[in-house]
Amino acid sequence: MNSSKQSGKTNYISTSVFGRVMFMLLIVVAMWGGKVKAQVSPEEIKASLIIHFCDNIDWPSPLKGDFIIGCYTDDESVYQVLSNATKIVKVQGKTILVKRLNSLDDLEGCHALYYQRSYTSDLITFFKIARETNILLITDNYDDQLFVMVNIVDEVDRIGFRVNMANLTLAGFNVKANILLNGGRVVDIKKAYERFEQHLKDSRTRYERITQELARKESLLQQKDDIIQQKETEIDQYKNDIDSYTQELSALNSQIHIEQKLLDQKAEELNQKDGELDIIYADIEKKLDELAELRQNIDRLRSESDTLKTEIGQKNVVLNQQQVSLSNQRRYLMLLLGLATTLLIAAFALTSLFLLKKKHNRELEEKVVMRTKELQVKNEQYLSLFNLAPVSIWEVDFTAVKELIDSKELKDEKEYDRYVHQNPDFTIACFRKINFININSASLELYRVHSVDELAAFYEELYQAGALAGLENEFKALFQNKKRSNYEAIRMDKNGKRLDVLITWLDVSENNNAYSRVLLTMTDVTRLRKIESELRQHQENLEELVKERTDEIGTLNEELRIQNEQLYEANEELKTTNEELTEQKKMLDSALLELKQTQMQMIQSEKMASLGILTSGIAHEINNPLNFIQTGLYALELAIEEASVPKELVEDLQSIIEKMSIGIKRSSAIVKSLNMFSRKDSHVIRRCDIHEIIDNTLLILNHEIKGKCEVQKYFTEKSFVLEGNDENLHQVFLNIIMNSIQAIQSAGTLTILTEVKSNDKLEIRISDTGKGISKKILDRIYDPFFTTKAPGEGVGMGLSIVYKIIKEHRGTIQYFSELNKGTDVIITLPINNKS
């Protein structure tokens, strides 16, 4: 940076010096003609001027030793000339000693100082020291006349000098009058001061302006920063929101998961219960089957007992018949006996008959014995049947009971009932009258007793204990003269075990002696009853269980239904939340995108704006030196023309100058394109014919297009009004179409299409079949100074200018490209159809 700047400066000096020298030669010769030779160089003039000053100024105190002149210069030439002059010339009668200074420290001992620097920043320091230590300061072309003593000035036609009397006087020097003889002038202090003041004022205003601008930029930057920060906070907030929503969502999800699990568990339980229920049902079924079976058993037993009863009845009938016949036979026997007795009495008389009768008697006796035997057999048969019967059978004599009942002479049942009610002891009295004739072994077994007496005693015990329910009915039946009765009663055996018995009694007494012989059968239905009651209980239990279970299932079902509903609700809520979240996320995404785009646009426009401000300054600063060079070249051409320079050299020089001119033109073109950015938006806006602009552009580029690419134009025929700056629009299409043509390497097609879109936009599509733009580069094409062209072919400003102009026209531009296929540029510009 530094070195290039310095070399630039050196160049400028040498150029300007070169230019000046050509001219000086003539002037100086004319002026110094008498004094010096025809070929006097500026160094020699300057050196002689320095010696002239030193000789014409008196130092405040007498000088001692040699006269020392310090040279603080980056131009060797004057120093060289001065050094050479010391051999010939003296100052104030003293030998001159020229000393080369490298810094302020070397100044000591000097009487005079020649100061000539490209950078003059330290002059004021030198000036102050010189004034304090009586050193004569000779400056060379120093601008500020206030800080000089003697200043050599390169004037237009000669080398002159200015003397600042005030400074010399202040430094204690006495200036001789003839100092001005050699073309010098006294500094107009007033004018110099005014100029200085003006300069100072300008600097101040510039400083203030810059400060203000800086402050404005800073505040702008601050504002932008604030906005960005705000947006960032917003984004953070949105991010937090999303996080919390996501957490909520996952919490809800896990809750649903848990509830679903619970539901599954419940369903499983339900299944299990169903299974249990099935088992219970099966159990019930089985039990019912068993019951049915038992009932069948009972029925069978009943029918069996009925059969038995009938059998017994039949047997009893037979027995009765036999008894009847037996008693008849007995009666006959008695009669016969009586007859026999009579006969016996008569036998005495009738002996003859006696023997016969005796034989007949014997036969009769035999018959009776036989009959008796038969009767005995029958009786034994009956007894064995009675005893061996599987059912408890009692033979009871109720005669006494009946007598007791009848003795009360009660008229009807009502009266009987009332009597029984009024006389609680009546029943026991009746009971005591029962005569137990016989009971079979089954009865003993049933009651767990060993004999009839024991049973009778036990029965009385039972009666006393009030455990003989149904006995009254028996007595009542006697009162009613019933021959038979059936009832079920609860009894107890000797071991205290409950007995359920089915009691049937039948009066089998002979006709005239009622209730002397009553057969009482007791069937033990305890087990049956027990099973029945168990079954009933079981059934009840089962029913209850079923009911319970049904209720439970109902409750469970209800609970499940409620839970299901809750779950459904939760799910719905979740869905809604989810949808909301999705919506919010979408919104956030688009907001973020928008934000990014806005940021990009802001950055881009800020970039362009700062570039604009920068370039307007730079353009001026570059154009001036360019002007020096260009004008210098013109002057040089003129000088070459006038000087007698050999012809070959002239051609060389002209070629060099031409090339330099090209350089200037190129630099100037860059600066001009940069200037596009410093332009304000106040350009003239008027109605433009975009088709004409495109046609013009194609005309200008005709030499580029010719023989290289085919141009196809499809311009819309719809009418529209487009307002803009046609100069700028020309530039837009020139840049774009130029790029398209350059993209086509040997042959291709350039298509330009215009179309009215949605009545307020014009779309212009410029397509080429060129080499295309890679994706990597596509993002940077609008960047200022970005170019893929070789140096000298393009500055890289084209598309950034295009971008700026399109933006100024409130339009859009988009590049679509594929490598080796081609590039499409789509520009839209606002139009209106008011016509």
Partner: protein
């Protein structure tokens, strides 16, 4: 030798002044001033100056301010601006009001400028 037409060129850059003078010395007698103020002084001394060329940006008085003052001295004097700056609104309005005849950008083209000078002198 025929007397050359006298013109004035005002620019705060000494180099521009010198080289300009040099370039056109065969065609014009160029008076040079490195500020507007100096230019006005020179114009007063040299009433035969027939064309004014001024830089735009100068300390103190800028080109247009200088030319406005010139017009108070001689309303008929043709003036142009020669500047390194791009055109701006002030320049546009100055051109429209005929305060300046032309606006020439630096680096100038000698032939172009010469044609302009010939046109008005």
């Amino acid at each position: 030798m025929e007397k050359l037409p006298k013109i004035i060129y005002v620019d705060d850059e000494e180099i521009n002044l010198t080289l300009f003078q040099l370039t056109f010395r065969k065609y014009f007698e160029v008076c040079i001033a490195n500020s507007g103020q100096e230019g006005l002084e020179l114009l007063e001394i040299n009433p035969d100056i027939c064309f004014v060329i001024s830089d735009m940006k100068m300390p103190g008085m800028d080109g247009l301010e200088f030319i406005q003052k010139v017009k108070t001295l001689n309303n008929q004097l043709p003036c142009i601006i020669l500047s390194g700056y791009d055109r701006n609104d002030r320049i546009e309005s100055a051109l429209q009001s005929q305060l300046i005849k032309e606006y020439v950008m630096k680096p100038f083209n000698k032939n172009e400028l010469h044609q302009i000078l010939d046109k008005y002198i």
